[in-house]
Amino acid sequence: MNAAFAKVRLYWPLTKSLQTGLLLSTGLAGYMSARCPVLHWTDLLGLALSLFMAIAGSTILNMWYDRDIDSVMNRTHHRPLADGRVLPNEALRLGLVLSILGVGMAGLMDSLYGLIVLAGLFFDVVVYTLWLKRRTCWSIVWGGISGGMPILAGRAFGLGYVDGVGLLLTLAVLFWIPTHILTFSMRYQDDYTAAGIPTFPSTYGLAATRATIAVSSVVAALCISAAGILIGMQWGFVRLLAVLSAGLLLLGVASVFRPTERVNFGLFKYASMYMLGAMLLISLGAL
Protein backbone atom coordinates (compact mmCIF):
# COMPACT_ATOMS: atom_id res chain seq x y z
CA MET A 1 0.00 0.00 0.00
CA ASN A 2 2.81 2.36 0.96
CA ALA A 3 4.61 1.55 -2.28
CA ALA A 4 1.48 2.43 -4.26
CA PHE A 5 1.13 5.78 -2.45
CA ALA A 6 4.82 6.46 -3.08
CA LYS A 7 4.28 5.85 -6.81
CA VAL A 8 1.25 8.16 -6.87
CA ARG A 9 3.27 10.87 -5.10
CA LEU A 10 6.03 10.42 -7.66
CA TYR A 11 3.72 10.46 -10.67
CA TRP A 12 1.46 13.29 -9.49
CA PRO A 13 3.86 16.13 -10.50
CA LEU A 14 3.93 14.66 -14.03
CA THR A 15 0.28 15.66 -14.42
CA LYS A 16 0.94 19.38 -13.67
CA SER A 17 -2.00 19.16 -11.31
CA LEU A 18 -2.83 22.90 -11.22
CA GLN A 19 -2.86 23.20 -15.01
CA THR A 20 -4.79 19.95 -15.39
CA GLY A 21 -7.22 21.08 -12.68
CA LEU A 22 -7.79 24.41 -14.42
CA LEU A 23 -8.46 22.73 -17.79
CA LEU A 24 -10.73 20.21 -16.07
CA SER A 25 -12.68 23.08 -14.52
CA THR A 26 -13.24 24.53 -18.01
CA GLY A 27 -14.63 21.19 -19.20
CA LEU A 28 -16.98 20.92 -16.23
CA ALA A 29 -18.08 24.53 -16.71
CA GLY A 30 -18.77 23.84 -20.40
CA TYR A 31 -20.96 20.89 -19.43
CA MET A 32 -22.80 22.73 -16.66
CA SER A 33 -23.43 25.66 -18.97
CA ALA A 34 -25.34 23.31 -21.24
CA ARG A 35 -27.14 20.89 -18.97
CA CYS A 36 -28.35 23.09 -16.16
CA PRO A 37 -30.75 23.27 -14.44
CA VAL A 38 -30.99 19.47 -14.78
CA LEU A 39 -27.79 17.91 -13.43
CA HIS A 40 -26.83 14.34 -14.23
CA TRP A 41 -24.31 13.40 -11.58
CA THR A 42 -23.19 10.15 -13.25
CA ASP A 43 -22.52 12.01 -16.50
CA LEU A 44 -20.72 14.74 -14.58
CA LEU A 45 -18.50 12.19 -12.82
CA GLY A 46 -17.80 10.34 -16.08
CA LEU A 47 -16.96 13.63 -17.75
CA ALA A 48 -14.60 14.60 -14.93
CA LEU A 49 -12.84 11.24 -14.93
CA SER A 50 -12.45 10.95 -18.70
CA LEU A 51 -11.29 14.55 -19.07
CA PHE A 52 -8.86 14.22 -16.16
CA MET A 53 -7.29 11.09 -17.67
CA ALA A 54 -7.05 12.59 -21.17
CA ILE A 55 -5.61 15.91 -19.98
CA ALA A 56 -3.21 14.31 -17.49
CA GLY A 57 -2.19 11.73 -20.11
CA SER A 58 -1.37 14.34 -22.74
CA THR A 59 0.48 16.42 -20.13
CA ILE A 60 2.62 13.41 -19.18
CA LEU A 61 3.35 12.67 -22.86
CA ASN A 62 4.34 16.33 -23.27
CA MET A 63 6.64 16.11 -20.26
CA TRP A 64 8.08 12.81 -21.52
CA TYR A 65 8.98 14.34 -24.89
CA ASP A 66 10.32 17.57 -23.39
CA ARG A 67 12.44 15.95 -20.66
CA ASP A 68 15.65 17.10 -22.40
CA ILE A 69 14.40 20.71 -22.33
CA ASP A 70 13.26 20.41 -18.72
CA SER A 71 16.68 19.16 -17.62
CA VAL A 72 18.45 22.34 -18.86
CA MET A 73 15.90 24.83 -17.53
CA ASN A 74 16.31 26.10 -13.96
CA ARG A 75 12.57 26.17 -13.43
CA THR A 76 12.00 22.55 -14.46
CA HIS A 77 15.22 20.61 -13.89
CA HIS A 78 13.83 19.18 -10.62
CA ARG A 79 10.85 17.54 -12.33
CA PRO A 80 10.71 13.74 -11.77
CA LEU A 81 11.55 12.91 -15.40
CA ALA A 82 14.24 15.54 -15.76
CA ASP A 83 16.10 14.51 -12.62
CA GLY A 84 15.73 10.78 -13.24
CA ARG A 85 13.32 9.82 -10.43
CA VAL A 86 10.90 8.51 -13.08
CA LEU A 87 12.24 6.50 -16.03
CA PRO A 88 11.26 7.74 -19.52
CA ASN A 89 9.63 4.44 -20.51
CA GLU A 90 7.65 4.40 -17.28
CA ALA A 91 6.32 7.90 -17.97
CA LEU A 92 5.59 7.08 -21.61
CA ARG A 93 3.56 4.01 -20.60
CA LEU A 94 1.66 6.00 -17.97
CA GLY A 95 0.94 8.83 -20.42
CA LEU A 96 -0.27 6.43 -23.12
CA VAL A 97 -2.44 4.39 -20.75
CA LEU A 98 -4.11 7.50 -19.28
CA SER A 99 -4.62 9.04 -22.73
CA ILE A 100 -6.12 5.87 -24.19
CA LEU A 101 -8.35 5.34 -21.15
CA GLY A 102 -9.46 8.98 -21.17
CA VAL A 103 -10.24 9.15 -24.89
CA GLY A 104 -11.72 5.63 -24.86
CA MET A 105 -14.04 6.41 -21.97
CA ALA A 106 -15.03 9.71 -23.61
CA GLY A 107 -15.80 7.90 -26.88
CA LEU A 108 -17.94 5.32 -25.08
CA MET A 109 -19.88 8.06 -23.29
CA ASP A 110 -20.60 9.99 -26.50
CA SER A 111 -18.91 9.78 -29.90
CA LEU A 112 -18.86 13.56 -30.53
CA TYR A 113 -17.49 14.19 -27.06
CA GLY A 114 -14.83 11.50 -27.60
CA LEU A 115 -13.88 13.00 -30.95
CA ILE A 116 -13.34 16.47 -29.45
CA VAL A 117 -11.28 15.03 -26.56
CA LEU A 118 -9.20 13.11 -29.12
CA ALA A 119 -8.74 16.33 -31.14
CA GLY A 120 -7.50 18.12 -28.01
CA LEU A 121 -5.01 15.35 -27.32
CA PHE A 122 -3.85 15.33 -30.96
CA PHE A 123 -3.35 19.12 -31.09
CA ASP A 124 -1.49 19.11 -27.76
CA VAL A 125 0.76 16.09 -28.22
CA VAL A 126 1.32 15.84 -31.97
CA VAL A 127 0.90 19.36 -33.34
CA TYR A 128 2.08 21.45 -30.36
CA THR A 129 4.63 19.25 -28.60
CA LEU A 130 6.12 16.99 -31.28
CA TRP A 131 5.87 19.24 -34.31
CA LEU A 132 5.86 22.97 -33.55
CA LYS A 133 7.09 23.79 -30.02
CA ARG A 134 10.78 23.65 -30.95
CA ARG A 135 10.28 25.28 -34.36
CA THR A 136 8.15 28.39 -33.91
CA CYS A 137 6.84 30.64 -31.16
CA TRP A 138 3.43 30.48 -32.89
CA SER A 139 3.08 26.95 -31.52
CA ILE A 140 1.15 28.51 -28.63
CA VAL A 141 -1.80 29.03 -30.99
CA TRP A 142 -2.08 25.24 -31.29
CA GLY A 143 -1.46 24.87 -27.59
CA GLY A 144 -4.32 27.32 -27.16
CA ILE A 145 -6.63 25.37 -29.46
CA SER A 146 -5.93 22.17 -27.54
CA GLY A 147 -6.52 24.10 -24.29
CA GLY A 148 -9.92 25.15 -25.61
CA MET A 149 -11.01 21.60 -26.37
CA PRO A 150 -12.08 20.58 -22.81
CA ILE A 151 -14.65 23.39 -22.56
CA LEU A 152 -15.93 22.64 -26.08
CA ALA A 153 -16.05 18.94 -25.26
CA GLY A 154 -17.92 19.56 -22.00
CA ARG A 155 -20.54 21.72 -23.68
CA ALA A 156 -20.89 19.40 -26.66
CA PHE A 157 -21.37 16.48 -24.26
CA GLY A 158 -24.10 18.43 -22.47
CA LEU A 159 -25.90 19.52 -25.64
CA GLY A 160 -25.16 16.65 -28.01
CA TYR A 161 -23.88 19.05 -30.67
CA VAL A 162 -21.39 21.89 -31.13
CA ASP A 163 -22.99 25.34 -30.91
CA GLY A 164 -21.88 28.97 -31.23
CA VAL A 165 -21.59 29.47 -27.48
CA GLY A 166 -19.28 26.45 -27.26
CA LEU A 167 -17.08 27.92 -29.98
CA LEU A 168 -17.13 31.30 -28.21
CA LEU A 169 -16.01 29.64 -24.96
CA THR A 170 -13.28 27.82 -26.90
CA LEU A 171 -12.14 31.15 -28.35
CA ALA A 172 -12.11 32.61 -24.83
CA VAL A 173 -9.70 29.91 -23.64
CA LEU A 174 -7.68 30.19 -26.86
CA PHE A 175 -7.16 33.93 -26.30
CA TRP A 176 -6.62 33.47 -22.58
CA ILE A 177 -3.73 31.07 -23.22
CA PRO A 178 -1.33 33.79 -24.53
CA THR A 179 -1.93 35.84 -21.37
CA HIS A 180 -0.97 32.79 -19.35
CA ILE A 181 1.91 31.45 -21.46
CA LEU A 182 3.49 34.72 -22.65
CA THR A 183 3.70 36.25 -19.17
CA PHE A 184 5.34 32.98 -18.14
CA SER A 185 7.80 33.00 -21.06
CA MET A 186 8.72 36.61 -20.23
CA ARG A 187 9.41 35.67 -16.62
CA TYR A 188 11.59 32.69 -17.60
CA GLN A 189 12.99 34.06 -20.86
CA ASP A 190 16.58 33.06 -20.01
CA ASP A 191 15.47 29.49 -19.31
CA TYR A 192 13.74 29.18 -22.68
CA THR A 193 16.71 30.73 -24.49
CA ALA A 194 19.06 28.25 -22.79
CA ALA A 195 16.83 25.39 -23.92
CA GLY A 196 16.63 26.74 -27.49
CA ILE A 197 12.84 27.12 -27.45
CA PRO A 198 11.56 29.98 -29.62
CA THR A 199 9.24 32.27 -27.66
CA PHE A 200 7.40 35.51 -28.43
CA PRO A 201 9.77 37.60 -26.25
CA SER A 202 12.87 36.15 -27.94
CA THR A 203 11.39 36.43 -31.45
CA TYR A 204 9.44 39.70 -31.39
CA GLY A 205 10.73 41.48 -28.28
CA LEU A 206 9.13 42.37 -24.97
CA ALA A 207 7.05 45.34 -26.19
CA ALA A 208 5.31 43.32 -28.91
CA THR A 209 4.75 40.46 -26.46
CA ARG A 210 3.13 42.79 -23.92
CA ALA A 211 0.88 44.26 -26.63
CA THR A 212 -0.10 40.73 -27.67
CA ILE A 213 -0.93 39.88 -24.06
CA ALA A 214 -3.08 43.01 -23.66
CA VAL A 215 -4.99 42.40 -26.91
CA SER A 216 -5.54 38.70 -26.17
CA SER A 217 -6.74 39.57 -22.65
CA VAL A 218 -9.33 41.96 -24.11
CA VAL A 219 -10.55 39.37 -26.62
CA ALA A 220 -10.66 36.59 -23.99
CA ALA A 221 -12.63 38.77 -21.57
CA LEU A 222 -15.07 39.84 -24.33
CA CYS A 223 -15.58 36.23 -25.44
CA ILE A 224 -16.23 34.96 -21.91
CA SER A 225 -18.59 37.83 -21.14
CA ALA A 226 -20.50 37.37 -24.40
CA ALA A 227 -20.72 33.62 -23.79
CA GLY A 228 -21.96 34.26 -20.25
CA ILE A 229 -24.76 36.48 -21.53
CA LEU A 230 -25.69 34.06 -24.34
CA ILE A 231 -25.77 31.15 -21.88
CA GLY A 232 -28.36 33.09 -19.92
CA MET A 233 -26.34 33.58 -16.77
CA GLN A 234 -28.13 35.50 -14.04
CA TRP A 235 -27.26 39.22 -14.21
CA GLY A 236 -25.54 39.20 -10.83
CA PHE A 237 -23.04 36.66 -12.14
CA VAL A 238 -22.59 38.65 -15.35
CA ARG A 239 -21.83 41.75 -13.23
CA LEU A 240 -19.19 39.87 -11.25
CA LEU A 241 -17.73 38.43 -14.45
CA ALA A 242 -17.52 41.97 -15.85
CA VAL A 243 -15.69 43.12 -12.70
CA LEU A 244 -13.16 40.28 -12.92
CA SER A 245 -12.73 40.95 -16.66
CA ALA A 246 -12.09 44.63 -15.95
CA GLY A 247 -9.30 43.59 -13.56
CA LEU A 248 -7.74 41.46 -16.30
CA LEU A 249 -7.96 44.29 -18.82
CA LEU A 250 -6.44 46.82 -16.41
CA LEU A 251 -3.51 44.53 -15.65
CA GLY A 252 -3.05 43.84 -19.39
CA VAL A 253 -2.97 47.58 -20.11
CA ALA A 254 -0.66 48.20 -17.12
CA SER A 255 1.75 45.60 -18.48
CA VAL A 256 1.99 47.59 -21.71
CA PHE A 257 2.33 51.11 -20.27
CA ARG A 258 4.04 50.40 -16.94
CA PRO A 259 5.88 47.16 -17.57
CA THR A 260 7.57 45.72 -14.50
CA GLU A 261 8.37 42.19 -13.39
CA ARG A 262 5.77 42.58 -10.61
CA VAL A 263 2.98 43.60 -13.00
CA ASN A 264 3.94 40.76 -15.33
CA PHE A 265 3.84 38.23 -12.50
CA GLY A 266 0.59 39.74 -11.20
CA LEU A 267 -0.99 39.39 -14.64
CA PHE A 268 0.13 35.76 -14.87
CA LYS A 269 -1.36 34.88 -11.49
CA TYR A 270 -4.49 36.98 -11.99
CA ALA A 271 -5.11 35.35 -15.39
CA SER A 272 -5.18 31.90 -13.73
CA MET A 273 -7.50 33.10 -10.97
CA TYR A 274 -9.64 34.86 -13.57
CA MET A 275 -10.11 31.70 -15.62
CA LEU A 276 -10.96 29.63 -12.54
CA GLY A 277 -13.33 32.35 -11.29
CA ALA A 278 -14.97 32.69 -14.72
CA MET A 279 -15.52 28.93 -14.93
CA LEU A 280 -17.07 28.87 -11.44
CA LEU A 281 -19.36 31.77 -12.37
CA ILE A 282 -20.40 30.11 -15.64
CA SER A 283 -21.15 26.89 -13.72
CA LEU A 284 -23.04 28.56 -10.86
CA GLY A 285 -24.60 31.28 -12.98
CA ALA A 286 -26.29 28.78 -15.23
CA LEU A 287 -27.89 26.94 -12.31
Binding site: Q234, G236, R239, V243, L244, A246, L250, F265, Y270
Partner: protein, 201 residues
Protein backbone atom coordinates in the same frame (compact mmCIF):
# COMPACT_ATOMS: atom_id res chain seq x y z
CA UNK B 1 6.76 43.30 4.85
CA UNK B 2 5.68 39.88 3.58
CA UNK B 3 1.99 39.08 3.51
CA UNK B 4 1.07 36.27 5.93
CA UNK B 5 -1.21 33.31 5.17
CA UNK B 6 -3.79 34.65 7.66
CA UNK B 7 -3.78 38.00 5.84
CA UNK B 8 -4.37 36.19 2.55
CA UNK B 9 -7.28 34.25 4.09
CA UNK B 10 -8.84 37.43 5.49
CA UNK B 11 -8.50 39.12 2.09
CA UNK B 12 -9.98 36.09 0.32
CA UNK B 13 -13.02 36.16 2.62
CA UNK B 14 -13.28 39.89 1.96
CA UNK B 15 -13.21 39.20 -1.81
CA UNK B 16 -15.93 36.56 -1.44
CA UNK B 17 -18.09 38.99 0.54
CA UNK B 18 -17.59 41.70 -2.09
CA UNK B 19 -18.38 39.16 -4.83
CA UNK B 20 -21.55 38.10 -3.00
CA UNK B 21 -22.60 41.74 -2.75
CA UNK B 22 -22.07 42.26 -6.49
CA UNK B 23 -24.07 39.14 -7.38
CA UNK B 24 -27.02 39.51 -5.03
CA UNK B 25 -26.71 42.68 -2.98
CA UNK B 26 -27.50 45.23 -5.64
CA UNK B 27 -30.21 43.23 -7.41
CA UNK B 28 -33.39 45.20 -8.04
CA UNK B 29 -31.88 48.65 -7.53
CA UNK B 30 -32.16 51.51 -10.00
CA UNK B 31 -29.46 51.52 -12.71
CA UNK B 32 -27.24 54.25 -11.17
CA UNK B 33 -26.93 52.75 -7.65
CA UNK B 34 -26.52 49.29 -9.18
CA UNK B 35 -23.66 50.48 -11.37
CA UNK B 36 -21.86 52.53 -8.72
CA UNK B 37 -22.18 49.85 -6.02
CA UNK B 38 -20.86 47.30 -8.54
CA UNK B 39 -17.93 49.62 -9.27
CA UNK B 40 -17.23 50.21 -5.56
CA UNK B 41 -17.36 46.57 -4.52
CA UNK B 42 -15.65 45.56 -7.77
CA UNK B 43 -12.65 47.78 -7.03
CA UNK B 44 -12.56 46.36 -3.53
CA UNK B 45 -12.62 42.80 -4.91
CA UNK B 46 -9.93 43.32 -7.57
CA UNK B 47 -7.75 45.23 -5.07
CA UNK B 48 -8.11 42.34 -2.61
CA UNK B 49 -7.11 39.82 -5.28
CA UNK B 50 -4.07 41.89 -6.23
CA UNK B 51 -3.02 42.13 -2.58
CA UNK B 52 -3.33 38.34 -2.31
CA UNK B 53 -1.26 37.84 -5.47
CA UNK B 54 1.35 40.59 -5.15
CA UNK B 55 1.48 41.13 -1.40
CA UNK B 56 1.61 44.51 0.32
CA UNK B 57 4.13 45.78 -2.25
CA UNK B 58 1.08 46.35 -4.47
CA UNK B 59 0.31 49.33 -2.22
CA UNK B 60 3.52 51.02 -3.40
CA UNK B 61 1.97 51.67 -6.81
CA UNK B 62 1.04 55.33 -7.46
CA UNK B 63 -2.30 54.09 -8.82
CA UNK B 64 -3.39 53.04 -5.32
CA UNK B 65 -4.38 56.55 -4.22
CA UNK B 66 -6.60 57.11 -7.26
CA UNK B 67 -8.14 53.63 -7.09
CA UNK B 68 -8.77 53.86 -3.34
CA UNK B 69 -10.71 57.10 -4.01
CA UNK B 70 -13.13 55.25 -6.28
CA UNK B 71 -14.46 53.08 -3.44
CA UNK B 72 -15.84 55.79 -1.09
CA UNK B 73 -16.92 57.99 -4.00
CA UNK B 74 -18.95 55.24 -5.69
CA UNK B 75 -20.49 53.88 -2.48
CA UNK B 76 -21.45 57.35 -1.24
CA UNK B 77 -22.95 58.24 -4.63
CA UNK B 78 -25.08 55.09 -4.48
CA UNK B 79 -26.33 55.98 -1.00
CA UNK B 80 -27.12 59.56 -1.96
CA UNK B 81 -28.86 58.46 -5.15
CA UNK B 82 -31.02 56.00 -3.24
CA UNK B 83 -31.86 58.03 -0.15
CA UNK B 84 -31.49 61.72 -0.92
CA UNK B 85 -33.06 62.40 -4.30
CA UNK B 86 -32.77 66.19 -3.90
CA UNK B 87 -28.96 65.93 -3.64
CA UNK B 88 -28.44 63.61 -6.61
CA UNK B 89 -27.21 66.07 -9.22
CA UNK B 90 -24.93 68.18 -6.96
CA UNK B 91 -23.42 65.04 -5.43
CA UNK B 92 -22.88 63.47 -8.86
CA UNK B 93 -21.06 66.65 -9.90
CA UNK B 94 -18.95 66.49 -6.71
CA UNK B 95 -18.04 62.84 -7.41
CA UNK B 96 -17.00 63.52 -11.01
CA UNK B 97 -15.10 66.72 -10.20
CA UNK B 98 -13.58 65.20 -7.07
CA UNK B 99 -12.31 62.11 -8.87
CA UNK B 100 -10.91 64.10 -11.79
CA UNK B 101 -9.19 66.53 -9.40
CA UNK B 102 -7.57 63.67 -7.44
CA UNK B 103 -6.49 62.14 -10.76
CA UNK B 104 -5.09 65.45 -12.03
CA UNK B 105 -3.18 66.24 -8.83
CA UNK B 106 -1.58 62.78 -9.04
CA UNK B 107 -0.63 63.09 -12.71
CA UNK B 108 0.71 66.64 -12.57
CA UNK B 109 4.14 67.15 -10.96
CA UNK B 110 2.88 69.41 -8.11
CA UNK B 111 5.30 70.05 -5.26
CA UNK B 112 2.91 71.85 -2.87
CA UNK B 113 0.31 70.54 -0.42
CA UNK B 114 -2.56 70.70 -2.92
CA UNK B 115 -2.62 66.95 -3.75
CA UNK B 116 -2.92 65.99 -0.05
CA UNK B 117 -5.51 68.73 0.54
CA UNK B 118 -7.64 67.58 -2.40
CA UNK B 119 -7.38 63.99 -1.26
CA UNK B 120 -8.39 64.86 2.29
CA UNK B 121 -11.41 66.90 1.14
CA UNK B 122 -12.67 64.31 -1.36
CA UNK B 123 -12.10 61.34 0.98
CA UNK B 124 -13.49 63.30 3.91
CA UNK B 125 -16.78 64.28 2.26
CA UNK B 126 -17.34 60.83 0.73
CA UNK B 127 -16.41 59.02 3.96
CA UNK B 128 -18.63 61.27 6.08
CA UNK B 129 -21.52 60.72 3.67
CA UNK B 130 -21.19 56.94 3.97
CA UNK B 131 -20.93 57.22 7.75
CA UNK B 132 -23.61 59.82 8.47
CA UNK B 133 -26.36 59.05 5.95
CA UNK B 134 -27.11 55.42 6.99
CA UNK B 135 -26.84 56.25 10.71
CA UNK B 136 -29.20 59.21 10.25
CA UNK B 137 -31.69 57.17 8.25
CA UNK B 138 -31.66 54.39 10.84
CA UNK B 139 -31.91 56.80 13.78
CA UNK B 140 -34.89 58.63 12.29
CA UNK B 141 -36.70 55.40 11.44
CA UNK B 142 -36.54 55.94 7.67
CA UNK B 143 -34.48 52.74 7.36
CA UNK B 144 -34.25 49.61 9.48
CA UNK B 145 -31.75 49.75 12.37
CA UNK B 146 -29.45 47.22 10.70
CA UNK B 147 -28.83 49.68 7.86
CA UNK B 148 -26.71 51.63 10.35
CA UNK B 149 -24.04 48.97 9.80
CA UNK B 150 -23.31 50.62 6.45
CA UNK B 151 -22.33 53.68 8.51
CA UNK B 152 -19.96 51.47 10.52
CA UNK B 153 -18.45 50.33 7.21
CA UNK B 154 -18.17 54.00 6.27
CA UNK B 155 -16.29 54.77 9.47
CA UNK B 156 -13.93 51.86 8.87
CA UNK B 157 -13.31 52.88 5.24
CA UNK B 158 -12.59 56.39 6.54
CA UNK B 159 -10.01 55.04 9.00
CA UNK B 160 -8.41 52.78 6.37
CA UNK B 161 -8.42 55.49 3.70
CA UNK B 162 -6.92 58.05 6.07
CA UNK B 163 -4.17 55.70 7.24
CA UNK B 164 -3.25 54.72 3.69
CA UNK B 165 -3.46 58.26 2.31
CA UNK B 166 -1.23 59.69 5.05
CA UNK B 167 1.18 56.80 4.64
CA UNK B 168 1.39 57.46 0.90
CA UNK B 169 1.78 61.19 1.59
CA UNK B 170 4.81 60.43 3.78
CA UNK B 171 3.14 61.52 7.05
CA UNK B 172 1.85 58.28 8.61
CA UNK B 173 -0.18 58.39 11.84
CA UNK B 174 1.22 55.00 12.84
CA UNK B 175 4.06 52.94 11.41
CA UNK B 176 3.75 51.18 8.03
CA UNK B 177 4.13 47.82 9.78
CA UNK B 178 1.12 48.46 12.03
CA UNK B 179 -1.00 49.70 9.13
CA UNK B 180 -0.20 46.60 7.07
CA UNK B 181 -0.88 44.37 10.05
CA UNK B 182 -4.40 45.70 10.57
CA UNK B 183 -5.28 46.40 6.93
CA UNK B 184 -6.62 42.94 5.89
CA UNK B 185 -8.79 42.68 9.02
CA UNK B 186 -9.98 46.25 8.57
CA UNK B 187 -10.92 45.62 4.91
CA UNK B 188 -12.81 42.46 5.86
CA UNK B 189 -14.70 44.14 8.72
CA UNK B 190 -15.56 47.07 6.47
CA UNK B 191 -16.86 44.84 3.65
CA UNK B 192 -18.78 42.64 6.10
CA UNK B 193 -20.39 45.74 7.64
CA UNK B 194 -21.41 46.97 4.18
CA UNK B 195 -22.80 43.60 3.10
CA UNK B 196 -24.72 43.10 6.35
CA UNK B 197 -25.96 46.70 6.36
CA UNK B 198 -27.25 46.56 2.79
CA UNK B 199 -28.89 43.18 3.47
CA UNK B 200 -30.69 44.63 6.49
CA UNK B 201 -31.73 47.81 4.66
Amino acid sequence: MRIAILDRILLLVMCLAAGYQIITGVEGLAPVPMIVYTVGFGVLLVAGLLLIILGFEALDSPVVIVVSTVIPLSLSLGLVWEHCSACRTPYLVFVIVGFLTVLATRLLPLRNRLPVLVLAVVHGIAGLTIFVLPVLLSATGRARPGFGLVGVGGALIGVGGLLLALLKAGKPLVSRAIILKILPGLLLLMTAAFVAGFALE
